[in-house]
């Protein structure tokens, strides 16, 4: 799903859109959208090795694509601190069954997003 908000092109991506893909395909899809100047809001999060691969491939692109300076990447997780063991267990089981859809990942071109400021409870996009 794509939305234009104040000239910003936002691609809202349900996890199902990349669920069946391998690591290379996922990273390629994300980078293609970012190179099209879109900000991606992914329902879920990538695995650590996929994030590392995304950084690697981004760096290779910075080297080869004119005016591409890289990405901004941030994940916001639900704050389960202070929740009871039952809620934490439920969250853990849901994570295993349907993927980590309770997290949100924001990925965008560094030239569009100046910075993503993050603390454990909130996320803030500082736009150029």
């Amino acid at each position: 799903m794509q939305k234009d908000i104040n000239g910003l092109r936002i691609h809202v991506m349900p996890f199902s859109e990349i669920k069946e893909m391998g690591i290379s395909e996922r990273v390629k899809k994300i980078l293609n959208l970012v190179l099209g100047n879109k900000i991606i809001i992914l329902h879920g999060r990538l695995r650590a090795e996929e994030e590392a691969r995304l950084i690697e491939d981004t760096m290779a692109m910075v080297d080869h694509v004119k005016n591409f300076k890289g990405i901004e990447l941030a994940v916001i997780e639900p704050d389960l601190k202070g929740e009871g063991i039952f809620v934490k267990m439920k969250h853990g089981i849901a994570k295993r069954l349907i993927g980590d859809s309770s997290s949100l990942t924001v990925i965008g071109p560094a030239a569009v997003i100046k910075d993503i400021k993050k603390d454990p409870r909130k996320i803030e996009l500082l736009l150029k």
Binding site: A48, E56, M59, V62, K69, G70, K118
Partner: protein, 212 residues
Amino acid sequence: MIKILKNFSRRILGALFRKKSNIKVGFYGPPNSGKTTLANIICKDWTGQEIGAVSHIPHETRNVQFKEKVEIEHKGKKLTFKIVDTPGIATKIDYEDFLKHGLSKNESKKRAKEATQGIIESIRWLDDMDAVVIVLDSTENPYSQVNITIIGNLVARKIPILVVANKIDAKKSNTKRLEDAFPEYEVVGISARDGTNLEEFYESLFKLAKKV
């Protein structure tokens, strides 16, 4: 039966000896957090030679650099390390940032190109590490995705981690914020610039080595 047991114990002891004799410790973190400054102190103290150049301009280290057989003695115990200093990992590189530090356009573009290669190299070396010291600038917000991505990759590879909160000599330093961000790991506050708390660092480094 005795022969089998003998072979088995020789193999196990051999593996342990090999592992402990030259522990590969990687220094990872974002750019300008003080990885090379810390690696230099260690290498200078125990081999008489530094590992690499330092600068206030980000991405000074653009290649993985290492020092073999660094024998460190702490409280009567000796361990030998291979110290691996890595380029800072970032998700963006803009050559214009280097212009602000007084570099020419050509120098800046060259530095940016080398920095992107350095980041790729850093990530690829993760697989080779026995243990990792994550060096963070204690004046900066620790909740950056790069820090979390590095730690996530080390956890996935079951590589032991020590977090160093560097620059505790700076006014804005906040070691507590780092401890809160990474409660699962030991966080040791140091100043690599003036050598504050290095004894505590070596204590933690030896504890880290035990986990290898």
